[in-house]
Every structure is written in C-alpha cells, then in structure tokens.
C-alpha cells in the first residue's frame, strides 16, 4: 500500500483513486508514497488491518475486492489458477460480485469515469456467462490482457491477498470472451483439451504478468529511483527524471480533474481536491 495519508496514516493501494478526492477518513490532501517493500517490512500491518476490520463495510470494500493485479504481478496466482474447483468458483463469484459492487459504488458516487463503467459492465456480463471448466482454463491467460485492456491497474484499488487470488481466478476471465467473442490472442484456443490448456496456462502465466511488471508494485529496492518510477507510472502527467528535472505530459495535466499542486522529492506530493472544495462550498 504505497500511498499513505500523512495526517491520519490511512494507506491506499498503488493506483487507488480513492485518495484523489482527499482521504476518505480525515479529508487530508497530503500523502506520502511508500514503496511496497517498506510496507512489507512493517510486518504486513496494513494488510492485517484492512483484513481484520471487516466492520467498516462499504468503505472497506473498494479496498478489498479487486486488488488482483498486484498479486498477479508477483506470480502467486499461477498455481491457484491451474486448479479450478467448485468451491473456488463460488468464492470467486462472491469476490467478483464484490468487485462489481465496488465499481458500481464508484460510478454511483461519481468518483470514477468511463473506464469504471466499462469494468462494471464487463463484470456483469462476465457473471452472466456460463462457466464450465473447459472454458475457464484457456481463458485464464486472456484474463490478464483482458483486464489490461478494459481497466488499467491504476484504476483498481488494493486489497488483501486472499481476495486477490480469488478475484483474479474467477469471472474476469470470461469477460474477455463476452466482450470479444474470441479466445485469447495467443492463438492457443484449445478448449477441447482443458488439462493441456491448464498446464500451458501455467507456463504462459508469467508472460502477461511480466508485461504488467512495469506498473506492479515491486518488492525490491525501495530506493529513491524506484520510488520515482512508481510515482511516474502513477502520475503520468509529471515524470521526475531526477531532482530538478521533470518531463511533463501536457495532455494528461490538462485532462486531469485534480492536479498536483506541490511536488516533493521524497515522494510526497499535494494534490488539489476538487470534491473537498465542493463540500466546503455546500
């Protein structure tokens, strides 16, 4: 959970949009960036916290359900994915349901834009798809690219690992088929040989994961370099080459509703919070 509110300490997933409207807990708009390893070293305190306090329901959910990709990036899901079974699937179902609910929450609250709507749509479609085992395995490989196509990692909130595994095994898989009407682009469309496909799937798994490594939170070296890279992949609007050297993506800067009003070299930054202004006006 690389982003942390500096006033109340609440953490946010890398890529979470929750914080874009200010910290939901305390309304603060100053955050610091914490690399993945630093968080791990803290004894998975953050993960434990969000897992344990299921009481905070709705608010918590966005932080729970769809945190799939971080784990996928770390390659933990490969094995799980190769053994599809009924229990897993019902778990998947609920995970995906929650993911869809989350997305709907976002859309409902107006905090998200078009992409989120698309995700919601495809999740819903996904659930309506028949899932027989023969289709699950080969489609798994498409899942990564499907999700990459539909919604970028930045748009998915963080969650604890258990859910991550489940969510990534399940329905989004079929999202690809439902939207494209096609099997994976890899061309290995062999749904008639599920076992085969499953093994192949496992071997193929690293490929899409590698593709995603760019924006997955890395476990190594929380040095300033990495930190900058993290920030860069997050806020594509401003790339920090080194202290005092910046590259700006004008289009991104122009299109963003919120904007960075203060940059600091230690990974801290201040964003303007449009929603907070609205609230103050009311």
């Amino acid at each position: 959970m690389p982003h942390q509110c500096t006033s109340c300490g609440r953490t946010f997933a890398d890529g979470s949009k929750e914080m874009l409207s200010g910290c939901p807990d305390c309304g603060g708009n100053k955050f610091q960036f914490k690399p993945a390893e630093a968080v791990d070293r803290e004894g998975s305190g953050a993960g434990g916290r969000s897992g344990g306090s299921g009481a905070s329901t709705q608010k918590k959910r966005p932080a729970d359900a769809p945190e799939t990709e971080g784990d996928r990036g770390r390659g933990t899901t490969g094995a799980t994915r190769a053994t599809p079974d009924a229990n897993k699937k019902s778990a998947d179902q609920s995970a995906v349901d929650r993911a869809a609910a989350t997305v709907r929450d976002w859309v409902g609250s107006g905090g998200e834009s078009g992409t989120a709507t698309e995700t919601a749509k495809s999740s819903t479609e996904a659930r309506s798809q028949p899932d027989d085992d023969s289709t699950v395995a080969p489609e798994d490989s498409a899942q990564a690219s499907a999700r990459r196509d539909v919604v970028s990692r930045e748009e998915l909130p963080e969650d604890p690992p258990e859910n991550a595994v489940q969510a990534s095994t399940g329905e989004p898989t079929t999202a690809r088929t439902s939207t494209d009407g096609q099997t994976p682009t890899e061309g290995e469309s062999a749904p008639d040989a599920p076992g085969d496909a499953a093994t192949r799937d496992e071997s193929r798994q690293p490929a899409p994961a590698d593709d995603n490594v760019v924006d997955a939170p890395d476990d190594e070296n929380p040095g300033l370099e990495d930190l900058r890279e993290e920030l860069n992949s997050q806020f594509e609007s401003i790339r920090i080459e080194s202290p005092g050297q910046y590259e700006l993506n004008l289009m991104e800067l122009y299109e963003r509703e919120e904007y960075i009003i203060s940059l600091q070299e230690d990974g801290k930054y201040v964003i303007e919070v449009p929603d907070a202004w609205d609230a103050a006006d009311r």
């Binding site: 005092g244 910046y246 590259e247 700006l248 004008l250 122009y254 904007y259 940059l263």
Partner: protein, 213 residues
C-alpha cells in the same frame, strides 16, 4: 407574435449584457517560457490600471504561479471591454534545473525553481481547462513556432472553442519573423508587437476588444 419574439430577444440581449458586465471575461495569457507573457501582461495592466502584474526577467520560468489582474478596462473606439488578465507560467514539456545554472544560480535554487516551474505548468494547464474564457497566445517571433507545446496548446484551445489571439512578440529584435508564425497558425490572426517597447499595442488592444469584448 413577431412583436413578442422581438421583445423577448431584446430582453435576453439586455440580460446578456448585464451578465457580461458583471462578469469580466477571464483572459489567459499563454505561451512557452520566455515569450514575453509577463511583459505583455504588465504592459496591458500598466496602460489601463497603472499597476503591474508581476516581475519580468530574461531567465525562463520567472512566472511560476498564475497571476491575475482583475477588472482591466480597455477602451477602444468608444467601446469599453473589461477583462481579467491571467498571466500564466510558461508551458513546456521539459523543465531542467541545469538551464538555470547558466544564469548564475546556485544548484539548490535552480532545483527549487525547476520544481516550482513544473508545478506552475500544471497550474497553467488546469486554468486552461477550467478557468479561462479566452486566450492571448504569446510567441517569441525570433524562435521557431513549430513546437509540440505550441501545437498542443493551440489544439486544446481550438477544441475548447475559446477565442484566441496570437501575438508575435519581440518584433524589436532583428531575428524576428512574424511571417513564420503566420505560416505556423494560418487559421488564426497573428498580430505583431513588441511588448517591451510598446510597439503596435494599439492594434493589440483593438483586437482584444474585438475578440473578447
């Protein structure tokens, strides 16, 4: 029937006028760094209000926060236009502290300036999206106008349907080429001027009244 329509039209015209009188148009002065935006803003502000907008300098990114001068009343041909002038930081795709080192600046200061300039660009882009009703686009006529920044900004301005006036500044310099700017943006009118010397400001004010009045 016709009478009513006319009446309605004239009523709405009056209310329109009232509204425009209450809310002066906010005109953003945009352009790359060192094009003379602040010099122009100061010239306009001094000519019509007596005050300046902000410090000018030959070092790029002198303006790192948008500065506003409100209620600038410009009179042209018996007509008065009231505008708010927003002088924005120069827009660029790259900020490097090393370019400031050439201007006798300590590294720390240069790095800070660079960071502030970056924040300034973010602010300028944000203003462009939300807060301006028209744009005065200032270009240094001694430099090549075919840049990514110019193309992108003019494109954004056009896509927003904002009225835009392109000024070819620094005509007092020998290398100035107004034609080059006209060629770059043939879809817009280009007005030559020297904000520093005050050359051709009459035409500039005329056009401001015409475009933003």
């Amino acid at each position: 029937m016709g009478l009513f329509t006319n009446l309605k039209d004239s009523v709405s015209r009056v209310t329109d006028k009232l509204f425009s009188a209450q809310e002066p148009k906010r005109i953003g002065i945009y352009g790359p760094p060192n094009a003379g935006k602040t010099t122009l803003a100061n010239r306009i502000a001094r000519d019509w209000t007596g005050d300046a907008v902000g410090p000018e300098s030959h070092i790029p990114h002198e303006t790192r926060r948008a500065r506003r001068k409100e209620d600038v009343e410009i009179e042209r041909n018996g007509k008065t236009v009231t505008i708010d002038i927003v002088d924005t930081p120069g827009v660029t795709t790259k900020v490097d502290y090393e370019e400031f080192l050439d201007h006798d600046m300590e590294k720390d200061d240069a790095v800070r300036r660079s960071r502030e300039a970056t924040e300034g660009v973010a602010e300028a882009m944000h203003w462009l999206r939300e807060d301006v009703d028209g744009v005065i686009y200032v270009l240094d006529s001694t430099t090549d106008p075919f840049t990514q920044v110019n193309t992108m900004l003019i494109g954004i301005i056009e896509s927003q349907d904002l009225p835009v006036l392109i000024l070819a500044n620094k005509t007092d310099l020998e290398e100035s080429s107004v034609q080059r700017i006209q060629n770059a943006f043939p879809q817009h009118e280009t007005i030559p001027l020297s904000a520093l010397e005050g050359d051709n400001m009459d035409e500039v004010y005329e056009k401001i009244a015409e475009y933003f009045g």
